[in-house]
């Protein structure tokens, strides 16, 4: 969906669901996922529908991901770091279970 304008700047590697992706220093987690062609970052707790970043400015909470074990982080506000472990958030709410 997105490409980089120029290949400027140093890169680093993080993993998304265990798969390594290259990112640029200065990327946020959400931007790095978009640049890597990852088309959604979570599924909703209500219907399980896939969602991808919508606003990229910290208000829509669609880019929620697990970062280094902490759930529901806003991917658009977290800068990437070498070796960071990102996981997509999956699963419907299981009310009454």
């Amino acid at each position: 969906m997105f490409k980089r304008l120029g290949d400027t700047g140093a890169t680093l590697t993080l993993t998304v669901d265990g798969k390594p992706i290259r990112a640029r220093i200065g990327d946020t987690v959400a931007a790095a996922m978009l640049a890597a062609g990852i088309d959604h970052c979570r599924t909703t707790p209500v219907s399980g529908a896939p969602r991808a970043p919508y606003c990229l400015m910290g208000v829509c909470f669609e880019c929620l991901v697990t970062v280094d074990g902490v759930g529901s982080r806003q991917g658009c506000l977290v800068p990437v770091a070498e070796g960071m472990k990102v996981e997509t958030q999956l699963g419907k709410r299981e009310a009454g279970r």
Partner: protein
């Protein structure tokens, strides 16, 4: 970071940067908190570390932010990025979380400069991956140098839509089309304000942008927009015409980001021209809560340059209250510049007033993205007797997901108002409470607790 400051500024866009600079230069101990990795807010996002080498892409308007950022850095204000403010109250205690640690900072004055967000654009399919706001595409272009590379469609109305189209075209993006949803009838009301607009700085800039975009891509008038796909966007349907697409960028203006201000107890009212809630403010942008001012677009939409002037005016008032002998710039000159910036606003508000059909959805269109609540459900519940957004939460959970109503609040208020024949002011907005941003229990637990607080929960 200290435990207390004379002035806490929340938000590092033009209003916050100008406010922090003005106050710090006058000698106030000033801290600026911003949740993003860098200062600049949305309009000057990425201004201190921009990967876009060709300055013409973003335009000179954008690079004007460099001076503001440099001024703030040189002013002596403490600037903290990656700082999430999750609470503010009438005692002027600011709850903030930085690098996984929460603390409470005591302020003598607070300037809320939390800016704007894009107005909800609830159309069928707007929750699909592949549908984003125009502002989102602009954000990654500014801060990360990312450009859409699939079949891209822009739809909506307002100055930002034209600016983004121009910036993307300059950067080499291919746009399938720009669909302009501005209702043609808006021109008749807007025309009343045309004389002022002709004198405003936005007139020439806006005209040049529209010409640039129209020269390089298809621009079509549109009324009905629909995003279609199952797991992601496959096509955009515009007035019945199907356009295979990978990315749909939506925009219909911006509205104040009110969450922190409302949670702090600041009175808001419905602005009938801008179709949103705005804080009730005095001439110095002071709010109904003593000691808290709201500057920038959070005080009502007026644009980035106006935001900086508002920030200065609010900061001068703070200095005069706390340090009457300190030398401050004359607020009159800031007020004059602000007036000039605001001159064309009525024209823009009337011209780009989004049509009812795109503000008040029907049927199965999702209104609350987080809890997947549809327009039909909200309308039916209002018809059954539900009188306001807070009661609506009990029926439908709308506004109770992670975004805390930011993406559905205005839609829900307008739908209830329409169904019950009330004004949006009578219907009101969601009751918002801290924390207004998510924090972990660990962060909360890391707050220093006094002996009395500890004893209060001991058995």
């Amino acid at each position: 970071m200290n435990e207390s400051y004379d002035l806490v500024v929340i938000g590092g866009g033009p209003a916050g940067l100008a406010a922090a600079s003005t106050a710090a230069r006058a000698g106030l101990a000033t801290v600026l908190f911003d949740e993003n990795p860098g200062i600049g807010g949305q309009i000057y996002r990425g201004i201190t570390a921009n990967p876009v080498r060709n300055r013409a892409i973003l335009g000179e308007e954008y690079w004007a932010g460099t001076a503001l950022a440099a001024e703030a850095k040189a002013s002596g204000a403490t600037i903290v990025n990656g700082a999430t403010v999750w609470s503010l109250d009438a005692s002027l205690a600011v709850g903030v979380s930085v690098a996984g640690r929460a603390r409470t900072i005591q302020a003598r004055r607070v300037i809320v400069a939390t800016g704007a967000l894009e107005r909800p654009f609830a159309i069928p399919g707007w929750t699909l991956p592949g549908v984003m706001t125009a502002g989102a595409a602009q954000t990654v272009l500014k801060a990360q140098g990312l450009l859409p590379n699939g079949r891209t469609v822009l739809a909506g109305s307002g100055p930002l839509l034209w600016l983004l189209a121009a910036q993307m075209l300059r950067a080499g993006a291919r746009l399938e089309a720009v669909f302009d949803t501005t209702p043609p009838l808006n021109w008749s009301r807007a025309a009343l304000y045309l004389p002022d607009f002709l004198l405003s700085p936005y007139f020439k800039k806006g005209l040049a942008l529209m010409r640039e975009v129209k020269r390089r891509t298809k621009v079509r008038a549109a009324r009905h927009i629909e995003a279609v796909g199952t797991d992601k966007l496959r096509e955009v349907v515009v007035d019945g015409r199907r356009i295979p697409s990978d990315l749909l960028l939506l925009h219909q203006g911006v509205v104040p980001n009110v969450n922190l201000a409302i949670a702090a107890g600041i009175d808001h009212r419905w602005d009938a021209r801008q179709l949103c809630f705005v804080p009730v403010l005095d001439a110095d942008f002071g709010s109904s809560v003593p000691g808290i001012a709201v500057a920038g677009d959070g005080a009502g939409i007026a644009g980035g340059t106006a935001a900086a002037e508002r920030g200065r005016i609010a900061a001068i008032a703070a200095v005069r209250a706390l340090a009457p002998d300190a030398a401050v710039p004359d607020p009159q000159s800031a007020r004059q510049r602000l007036q000039r910036e605001e001159l064309g606003r009525a024209f823009l508000d009337e011209l780009y007033r989004p049509p009812k059909a795109l503000r008040r959805p029907e049927g199965g269109t999702i209104v609350c993205r987080c809890e997947e609540v549809t327009a039909a459900e909200v309308r039916k519940t209002a018809q059954m007797g539900c009188e306001g957004p807070n009661q609506m939460k009990a029926f439908l959970r709308c506004g109770m997901g992670p975004c805390q109503g930011r993406l559905c609040g205005l839609t829900v208020t307008e739908l209830i108002a329409e169904e019950r024949g009330r004004t949006p002011d009578e219907v009101g907005y969601y009751r918002l409470r801290p924390p207004v941003k998510p924090i972990t229990l660990g962060e909360l637990a890391s707050l220093p607790a006094s002996e009395a607080e500890r004893r209060a929960v001991e058995r």
